[in-house]
């Protein structure tokens, strides 16, 4: 298939449509507007496709809820402030066990913050984000190609587990263009029995999140946990980079991981033994590989474009088995590989 030069926002939209997404609702916010605009143009051309510019992010995610229950592969996207508004709907999707894909091209925060690339929404994404005991699968692409691939995977994962899946990109992943080869669409595997389409001649069904009886509510919570445990076992994804013989391992995801690779390549050239673990799923978090690595390596450096959020997951994974340093630049700063290399050297020489 042809390689094309395409921006992350467009690639995400295109991959979604190729994956069979036929319902998109969104609300404008920088830096993901191009995704909404792409859907406005292309979803209408896709057979049976629906595009709605919603009146708010809240409306958009609730439209997705309706469309998903009615059997459509459905998606919404936004950037940080809008994702906060979507939490009500994401919580409802998780409670109802409905599939949906939600894209967050993160920007600087808190509050309106700015429109520059940032990684400040890690906690929100990996802890469910809304109210209640639930989790969402969180995929963190670090290139436009990976964004396209993960978007297609996201639909399959959300169907397989009937759970919302978040794609956690950032302003940079959305805005930059890179060559992309789109994967082949796979047939959808989602049982019709979960689709609400009118009772026909049969029994009526309902989908709801309200469970007033405490014991039944508890059972629903444990049922979700059992599902999450399967996800924890089966869906962890990560990449390791030059960790062989390393003395210090960097842990970074998304765009930050790319920068880390650049820094590591420089440092390896000057004889520093450094490598990278890049979580691709932020939830489920690749804790095991980090623990395993700690058998050989005594020291880690977490690098994030935030004040330190994934840092907590790394510490939880290590349970004190190794030293964990941190280097972070929040607020829309994208550090250079050279800047990060300096921070790594400091940690290395400790």
């Amino acid at each position: 298939m042809d390689k094309i030069l395409i921006s992350g926002n467009w690639a995400c939209g295109e991959a979604a449509i190729r994956a069979g997404c036929r319902f998109y609702a969104g609300y404008p916010i920088t830096p993901q507007n191009e995704l909404t605009e792409y859907m406005a143009e292309h979803m209408r051309q896709a057979e049976g496709g629906t595009f709605i510019q919603a009146e708010s992010e809240i409306a958009a995610v609730n439209m997705v809820l309706g469309a998903s229950a009615a059997g459509a592969r459905a998606m919404t996207s936004s950037s940080s402030p809008g994702i906060s508004l979507k939490q009500e709907g994401i919580s409802a999707l998780a409670a109802d066990e409905l599939p949906a894909v939600i894209v967050n091209m993160m920007r600087g925060g808190p509050g309106l913050g700015n429109i520059l690339p940032s990684q400040g929404d890690y906690f929100q994404a990996t802890r469910g984000g809304g109210h209640g005991d639930y989790r969402t699968i969180v995929l963190a692409p670090s290139s436009v190609q990976e964004l396209a691939d993960l978007t297609m995977d996201a639909f399959d994962l959300s169907d397989a587990y009937r759970n919302p899946v978040l794609i956690l990109g950032d302003g940079m992943t959305g805005q930059m263009m890179e060559p992309v080869v789109f994967g082949k669409p796979r047939p959808r595997r989602y049982s019709e029995k979960y689709v609400l389409k009118g009772a026909g001649e049969g029994r009526s069904r309902f989908v709801r999140a309200l469970i007033l009886d405490a014991l039944r509510m508890e059972e629903h919570n444990w049922k979700l946990v059992r599902k999450y445990n399967v996800i924890l076992q089966k869906e962890v994804r990560f990449e390791t980079f030059r960790t062989g013989n390393a003395k210090l391992v960097i842990i970074a995801y998304g765009i930050a991981a790319r920068i880390a690779k650049g820094a590591i390549n420089r440092l390896r050239d000057s004889g520093y033994r450094v490598g990278l673990i890049r979580p691709i799923t932020l939830w489920p978090f690749p804790a095991q590989i980090i623990r395993d690595t700690a058998e050989r390596i005594g020291s880690f450096l977490v690098f994030e474009m935030s004040t330190g959020q994934m840092l907590e997951d790394v510490k939880l994974a290590l349970e004190g088995r190794a030293r964990v340093g941190f280097y972070g630049r929040p607020g829309g700063i994208v550090p250079t590989p050279a800047e990060l290399a300096k921070a790594i050297v400091q940690e290395y020489q400790r």
């Binding site: 609730n62 229950a69 309902f206 709801r208 999140a209």
Partner: protein
């Protein structure tokens, strides 16, 4: 003997949990009657709200998808756009529709979403215990307007039907009541008509129902029926508010 009254087929055989004299139960029944009469049970999908009617799926024998508080019209939009040949209705209280869900309602109406909204106006937040609603009448006491609703502090009661009627996307809006046999019959006809409009693709339809809440109004069932006529209907006049097909001949 001729059977003149029975439980509609699309109403489950489950006792209502609503308070005695509550307008919700009557309205549920009217919706089910309409569904039966139009023969659409198998293609109808309902959207219950957060509110006293949150358990509506225990009563309606049609497919249902619960909406978060206020989002009924957005959820119904998602369903209807995905399955355009189904009959989709959202069932919402006044807090749900005219406070937290105003934006979703207004914009679904403005887009002319081909859905039907059953809007239960009982002038209070029933489920949460009788707080002031956007429809609470001036001077009316509630747990959050203890001295009575004040125009200066709390604003005026919102007449949503009149507001939405101004939008191009709305096809048919009628305000009904369920406090007397005549009004109940009329409300039933209105609901049926709204579904029929939807089936013809006419656009957004809404039936507002002035609905007794004896519990929070602190009245007996009989008093509350009287109060609808004497007080509530003065602020919320009953009748057709908009009908784009006015003048056309209908079956009923």
């Amino acid at each position: 003997m001729k059977k003149v009254f029975s439980r509609p087929r699309s109403l489950k055989n489950t006792p209502f949990h609503y308070c005695a004299g509550c307008g919700h139960s009557i309205t549920h029944r009217l919706i089910c009657d309409a569904v039966d009469q139009l023969g659409i049970r198998g293609i109808t999908i309902g959207v219950p709200p957060a509110g006293c009617a949150v358990l509506a799926y225990n009563y309606f024998d049609v497919d249902m998808l619960e909406a978060p508080h206020g989002r009924g019209c957005a959820v119904a939009t998602g369903i209807k756009r995905t399955l355009p040949d189904r009959v989709v209705f959202s069932y919402q209280g006044d807090g749900d529709l005219a406070a937290i869900g105003t934006a979703e309602t207004f914009h679904a109406a403005n887009r002319g979403e081909n859905i039907t909204v059953i809007f239960i106006n009982n002038a209070v937040y029933g489920m949460t215990g009788g707080q002031m609603a956007p429809t609470t009448l001036l001077g009316m006491m509630s747990t959050t307007s203890p001295p009575g609703r004040s125009a200066t502090l709390d604003g005026h009661p919102i007449r949503m039907s009149e507001v939405l009627a101004r939008l191009e996307g709305t096809a048919y809006i009628e305000r009904c009541a369920v406090n007397s046999p005549q009004n109940i019959l009329r409300a039933g006809r209105a609901i049926r008509k709204a579904f029929r409009y939807q089936m013809d693709g006419a656009g957004f339809t809404m039936i507002e129902v002035l609905s007794q809440c004896p519990t929070n109004w602190k009245m007996t069932a009989a008093e509350s029926c009287k109060w609808v006529d004497e007080v509530m209907a003065q602020a919320f006049p009953i009748g057709v508010i908009k009908d784009i097909r006015k003048g056309e001949k209908h079956a009923d």
